[in-house]
């Protein structure tokens, strides 16, 4: 069911007269859906009852048809007012009573019209432009003095998340995290989504807006634990289109290519290699000398692995640095506000997010994603998926499992022979 919705009031002797039943029937008959927000039933026969009904319809036109059809039966649109906005007092400072967003689809009422808030994400503010009738989610740090910021709750509504059409693991009405549930069918459902998205991605590549992207947020444990080959295959097979990570994921991936080690451990032998702890430093140093990861791939220094596949397949990569990074590699964004902005810019079109073995990047991405994007969080530490699932979206699925096992199973489900 689409975004068109309206709340109506019905009062009087609406229960015994079957007027409420009739109105609800009409809504359904015309292709709408409803939620009874509250129903107060008169305690005695001569006392009237009252119902507030939230009506949703696939389109604005259908909603208008429904409202027109139920109006003669006494349903009237609840009186609503526009949202209130105040100018931001200074750059980077919001008005004290600013409205703080959730990650759910949100609308504000401007000039009598409900309009969608663009780029909704968790814990930001809403900037409105009355003249253009637009509303945009805006992080605190990006606010400029004088921006009109929505305050209070009036004229703001959060739309309940629709149950996805697909009947898969994401359509359960709750966020699930368990180390004890079998993973196989969950992974099969994820693979199903990825297959469909790859089709959309390939279609859009021949022209059109790209809105079938899969995002992978990965930590270096992918390389340490042996998931590098599977992830490389997923990228080369065009199942993954956006990659978020840190300095370490890139460094250890290229270390593995150049030295066959990950943080000094031989990946095939599984033993510490003499002076192996230097390998990632030498890797970083070499790439710094070349100038960029892209050049390292183009010049044939890095020919295999996650980075090489990403560069060759035009995967949009955002590497966000952290305080303990060595180097860092060229291209790693060390200003966290800038990194956040780069991640935000890469999110439009993302329709599935896989957060694998990365705590900080996973949480940061979770906060940037609207609730409408199905999210899978995989970590050996149950606290990470739990933290993500606590965001309250029923489209967040948590898997407590090792990164490599997950990626390998997923890749096999999608046809990998490794």
């Amino acid at each position: 069911m689409g975004n068109a919705q309206e709340t109506v009031l019905l009062q009087g002797h609406i229960i015994d007269s079957l007027i409420l039943a009739k109105v609800l029937d009409v809504i359904l008959m015309l292709g709408g859906a409803f939620d009874l927000l509250d129903v107060q039933i008169g305690s005695q026969r001569d006392q009237p009852s009252r119902a507030r009904i939230l009506i949703r319809a696939p389109s604005g036109q259908q909603l208008a048809d429904i409202l027109q059809a139920i109006q003669p039966h006494g349903a009237r649109v609840e009186r609503e007012s526009d949202c209130c906005a105040e100018p931001a007092p200074a750059d980077g400072v919001l008005p004290p009573t600013f409205y703080a967003t959730t990650h759910l689809p949100t609308q504000v009422r401007l000039g009598g019209q409900w309009i969608d808030v663009e780029g909704i994400e968790m814990d930001v503010a809403i900037r409105v432009e009355d003249a253009a009738a637009t509303a945009q989610a805006v992080p605190m740090g990006q606010v400029r003095q004088g921006d009109r910021i929505v305050i209070g709750r009036e004229g703001v509504r959060v739309l309940p998340l629709e149950r996805p059409k697909e009947r898969d693991v994401f359509s359960f009405m709750q966020a699930q995290v368990s180390s004890e549930r079998p993973h196989r069918h969950i992974i099969a459902d994820i693979a199903g989504r990825m297959t469909a998205l790859r089709e959309g991605y390939r279609e859009a590549r021949s022209g059109g807006r790209q809105d079938s992207l899969v995002l992978l947020v990965g930590g270096p444990a992918i390389v340490h634990a042996g998931g590098r080959d599977a992830l490389t295959w997923l990228i080369e097979s065009e199942f993954i289109h956006v990659l978020f990570g840190g300095n370490a994921l890139a460094a250890h991936d290229m270390e593995a290519h150049l030295y066959g080690t990950s943080l000094g451990y031989g990946l095939s032998a599984g033993r510490a290699v003499p002076h192996g702890h230097e390998h990632h430093l030498r890797t970083i140093n070499r790439i710094r000398a070349i100038g960029s990861i892209e050049k390292a791939v183009a010049s044939g220094v890095i020919t295999g692995g996650i980075m090489a596949a990403s560069v060759r397949h035009d995967v949009r990569m955002v590497l966000a640095g952290s305080i303990r990074d060595d180097g860092p590699l060229p291209g790693v964004i060390t200003d966290s506000v800038q990194a956040q902005a780069a991640m935000r810019a890469a999110l439009p079109g993302v329709k599935l997010a896989l957060l694998v073995a990365s705590t900080l990047h996973a949480v940061a991405t979770g906060n940037l994603l609207p609730a409408t994007v199905p999210t899978v969080c995989v970590d050996v530490n149950q606290a990470v998926p739990t933290k993500l699932a606590d965001r309250g979206s029923f489209q967040a699925v948590g898997l407590v499992m090792d990164a490599a096992s997950f990626l390998r199973e997923l890749a096999r489900e999608l046809g990998w022979k490794g």
């Binding site: 009062q11 009087g12 002797h13 015994d16 007269s17 079957l18 039943a21 009739k22 001569d46």
Partner: protein
């Protein structure tokens, strides 16, 4: 003793068409109309023993004769009508003034809500029914229910020929209901059967419904109804009622009969 508000048909004619019965070409014969109206008054006064309150007719307001649409009355409380059609809206101040002049507590409905008085609001002592969709606005019943302290069950009228509730729904003093079910939607039919009791609901045949058999005035055991409703009269007689048929076909030209020509005051 029953009291009715009535208005002589001095200016009754077909000057406009606001229901499927009205045809400008179908002219009223004024003398005949006057005789029929007087016949009705005689039956009400002499046979039924009712008191008749006559209000002064107003030139240019041909439908004022249908006082059932003056408003709704309970005890000393009156709510004047707000007509849907502008043609009849001009009657409103005269009816309202009559209520005020006769000591009624007059309450008015919110601006913009249509309500056509006892034409659409009638019922049994414990439950009232309010016809909506054609003339009265369903939302007026929420306010009226509060004003009168009565439960009002809205019922949807779906046949344009039965444009007021009193054209197809007639509660009788013994708790029975004369009605024409196809004039109502399915929800209303179910509710009426549930509330009145299926065994007390009597459907009049279509031919008699179209003669406005249901547009009858019931006082005690006497039921004043338009003539020619043979089956309805037989049923009434079998139930112990005394049917009092009155020729009223001049008024049927405007889509009204016995009940439309009266407003019960107490």
């Amino acid at each position: 003793m029953s009291r009715f508000l009535v208005c002589p048909p001095d200016h009754f004619s077909i000057d406009y068409e606001i229901n499927p019965w009205m045809r400008l070409s179908n002219r009223v014969q004024p003398d005949r109309a006057r005789l029929q109206w007087q016949g009705l008054m005689e039956v009400l006064a002499d046979k039924v023993g009712a008191t008749l309150e006559r209000m002064a007719p107003v030139p240019g307001l041909p439908d004022m004769v249908f006082t059932a649409n003056a408003g709704s009355v309970l005890g000393r409380k009156a709510v004047p009508s707000r007509f849907r059609h502008p043609e009849r809206r001009r009657e409103e101040p005269f009816f309202e003034q009559w209520f005020r002049d006769h000591g009624y507590d007059v309450a008015t409905l919110e601006e913009g809500l249509y309500f056509e008085g006892a034409g659409d609001l009638l019922g049994f002592p414990e439950a009232w029914f309010g016809g909506y969709r054609q003339r009265s606005d369903i939302r007026s019943y929420a306010s009226l229910s509060e004003l009168f302290g009565r439960e009002i069950i809205p019922v949807e009228l779906v046949d344009r020929r039965f444009y007021h509730l009193d054209t197809c729904f007639c509660p009788l003093s013994g708790g029975e209901l004369l009605y024409y079910p196809p004039a109502f939607d399915l929800y209303a039919r179910k509710v009426i059967a549930d509330r009145v009791g299926q065994d007390l609901c009597v459907a009049v045949p279509e031919s008699e419904a179209l003669r406005f058999a249901c547009n009858a005035v019931c006082v005690g055991k006497q039921v004043v109804l338009p003539e020619g409703c043979v089956e309805t009269m037989a049923w009434l007689a079998a139930r112990g009622y005394e049917p009092c048929p009155v020729p009223l076909d001049e008024f049927m030209k405007a889509g009204g009969s016995a009940k439309c020509l009266t407003l019960a005051l107490d």
